[in-house]
Subunit: 206 residues, 4 copies
DNA sequence: TATGAATGAGTGTTCATTCAT
DNA sequence: TATGAATGAACACTCATTCAT
C-alpha cells in the first residue's frame, strides 16, 4: 500500500460547479461505498472505484486529490445522511424521546448498509481521517444537546458520558451489523436498554 | 516467488525446539505488537516486524507461514494473558462479583496496551482470522458461564445478551483507550454501570 | 502484497485499446522471448522481462496477470507463427507432400530461434500451461489431418502414431537446435527419414 | 531462485570413506529423486531433500557443496544404472541385436521412473550441469560402438547419426513417460521402428 | 561431525498516483 | 476536460547457503 511521502491532500480538489461534475462526484462516492461493501478494506482501491463508477482513474483524481480524500467524502456523505435523520429528534418534546429517536436513527443508519458503516468506523480510527471527517454537525454535538435537556439526568462529566453513550451505541450496533441482524426495532430496544441503564446508574454514582 | 495458491496457512510453522528459537519467536511476536502500536495497521508489514525484532525476514517466515499466522499468534498471546487474569473471576462467590471481575480484567487488558488491543479487535473482524484466533477459552465462554450463575437474571436469548455485553464492553473500552484514558477504576465503574444497566433492563423487557 | 489466493490467472488481463498499448504488449512478449533465450528458464523473471522491454514492472502486470500468462502469450505467438506457415502444407496434393511440408515447417520454426523453441517445449510440459497454450489449431490436429489422407498408411492406433511422430520431430529438432545446427534442408532430410521410416515400419507391424 | 555469484561447486565435497557416510550420501540422492518425482522442478529444493532424507540441511551440505552438485550426483546414479544394464547389450552377436537391446534398456530406464527421467533430461540441458553430468561411459559412446559393428549400415556422418538416434529415443520415450505409458514391450517396438526406419533410410540417402 | 537456526538477495505482484494524448 | 497507459515504491514470501552450538 503506497502512502505518499508528503501526506496526501484530503480536501476535495474542486467544488463541482457544473451539475454534470456534481453527478460524477456523487457517482464516484457511491462507487466507493459499493466497493467497500463488496470487497472490504482489502479490495478498496482507487482503480476499482473508478471502474465501478464508470469513469476513468484520471477523472477520479480530477475530483479527489487522493484516496483518503475519497474516503473522507464518503464518510461525510454518510454522516450527513445520519445527521439529517437524527436531528429531527431534536423536535421531540422530552430529552428521553429525543434520545430514543437518536438511538433509533443510529440503528437505522447502521442496518441500512451494515458492512459499509462498520468499515467506515474502522477507517475513522485512522488519525489522518478522523481529523478531517468530523464536520461541525456530529453525533457528538447532537448527543450533547440532548443530554442537556431538562428532563435528562445531570451528569458530572458530560463529555465523558457522551463519549460513553456513543461507544455503547457504536459497539452494539457494529456487532449487530456484523452478525447480520436486520430487525431495527429489536436492536433499537436493546441499545435503548443499555444506554438508559447506563445513564440511570451513572447519574447516581458519579 | 508465489507458488502455492492454498489460502495462506495460519498455524505456526514449526515448534521451536531450541531455546534460542523460542526467544526468536517471542521477540517476533512482541515486535509485531510494537509495530502495530507505533505504525498502525497500515504500517504493519512483515519486513517492519522482522526489522523491529532484530531478525531477518527469513527467520520470521521460519516460524510463521504468513503474515496472518503472525497476527493470530499475537492475538492468542493477548487472549491468553487476558484469560489467565479473567478466569480467576470464576472463583468469585456470586455471579455479580464474577462479572465485576471480568469487566475489570477487560478494562485492565485494554488499558495496558490500548492501541494494540484496539487494532487486534479490528483485525479479529476478518473472518479468516476470527476462525483461527478463538481457542476454546474465550471471552464468550467466560461470559456465558458467568451469565448462567444462579444470581444472574435469566435471559430469554442468552447468546444475544452475551454478544451485546461483549459489544458494550469492547465499544466502551476501545473508545476509552483511544481517548487515552488511564484510570482503570473509573473506566471499570462506568462499564459496570452500562452492563448492569443493560442486564437489568433487558431481563425485564425481554 | 499477496491478497488473492486464486490460482494465478492465465488469460491476458485486458485487450490493449490504444495503439501505444499494443506496442507495449508486443514489446513485452518479445522481451520475454529474448530473456528466455539469453538467460534460460532460471533467469526468466518478470523484472528482467520488463527491464528488457524498457517498460516498468507495473506495465507488464497491466497486460499480463501473472508470469504464466506471459509465458502462454509467448507460446501462442510462436504457435501462431508456426501454424501460419505449416497450414499452407495442407494444400499439397498428396499426404506425403503435406507431411514433408509440415516437417520442414517444424524445422524452420525450431532453427529460427532454437533456444527459445526448446525452452518453450519444456515449459509446455507444465500441465497448467499446456492446458491454456494449445488452441484448436495445433501441431496435433495438423498432423492428424495429414495422417488421414488417402495415400498415407492406415494406422491401427492413429493417436499414438501422431504422438510418436511429434515426439520424433521434437526430439530431433530440439537436439539439433541445441547442437547449433543451422542447415534447414539437411536437418529436414534427416527428420523426414526418421518419420517416414517409422511410419512405414509401424504400419506394417502394427 | 538464488544462483550464487561464484558458480557453485559441482563435485561431491568429499568421497565418503566410511560406510555410514556412504549410506547417508545414497539416502540423500534417493531423497532428491523422490522429491523431484513428487514435487517437480518447482518443489525441488535442498531443504525438502534433506527433510525427506531424514538428515539435517547442514549434513546435506557436508556431502554436497551445492544444489547442482546434488543434481549431478543423481544424474550420475541414473546414468550408471542405465549403463550397467545397457552395456550388457554389447555381448550380443550382431549390431542389430545390440541396438535392439540398447533401445529396450532405454525404454526400461525411462518407464521405471518416468517423471524422474524426464526431469533429469530437462535439467541436463542446463549447460552447467551438462558439462559435469556426462562421464566417459555414456549413451553416446555405447551407441557409437554399436553403430561401428560390421552388420550396421555405414554412415557418412556417424556422430550426427548417433545424435539423431539418441534424440529419437529420448523424444519418444520422454513423451511416452509423460503420457503415462507403462508397456515396455509396446513402446520398445515403436522406438525400434523409428530408429531402424531412420537408419535404413538415412544410410541410403546420405 | 551433525544440527537446525539464521540469513538476505531475489522474485512475483499490487496499487496509489502521474501525465502524455 | 477526460482518458487510460505507464510508473515504481512497497510488500509478501522463498530458498540456497552459512555457521554457532
Amino acid at each position: 500500500m503506497r502512502r505518499s511521502s508528503r501526506p496526501s491532500p484530503l480536501k476535495p480538489r474542486k467544488a463541482p460547479s457544473q451539475p454534470r461534475a456534481a453527478e460524477t462526484v456523487a457517482s464516484i462516492i457511491e462507487a466507493a461505498a459499493q466497493v467497500l461493501e463488496s470487497a472490504g478494506l482489502e479490495g478498496f482501491n482507487t482503480n476499482a472505484v473508478a471502474r465501478r463508477a464508470g469513469v476513468s482513474i484520471g477523472s477520479l483524481y480530477q475530483y479527489f486529490p487522493g484516496k483518503d480524500a475519497l474516503t473522507i467524502a464518503l464518510m461525510r456523505r454518510e454522516a450527513r445522511l445520519f445527521y439529517e435523520d437524527a436531528s429531527k429528534g431534536l423536535d421531540q418534546p422530552t430529552g428521553e424521546a429525543a434520545m430514543d429517536y437518536l438511538i433509533r436513527a443510529a440503528v437505522r443508519q447502521q442496518l441500512r448498509r451494515p458492512a459499509l458503516a462498520r468499515l467506515l468506523d474502522v477507517e475513522e480510527s485512522r488519525p489522518a481521517l478522523r481529523r478531517e471527517a468530523s464536520g461541525p454537525d456530529t453525533f457528538q454535538t447532537l448527543l450533547a444537546t440532548i443530554m442537556g435537556r431538562d428532563d435528562m439526568p445531570r451528569q458530572k462529566r458530560p463529555n465523558l458520558v457522551v463519549g460513553d453513550v456513543i461507544a455503547i451505541i457504536r459497539g452494539m450496533v457494529d456487532a449487530a451489523g456484523e452478525r447480520g441482524e436486520k430487525d431495527v426495532k429489536d436492536l433499537g430496544r436493546r441499545v435503548r436498554a443499555a444506554v438508559f441503564g447506563y445513564l440511570s446508574v451513572s447519574a447516581g454514582c458519579d
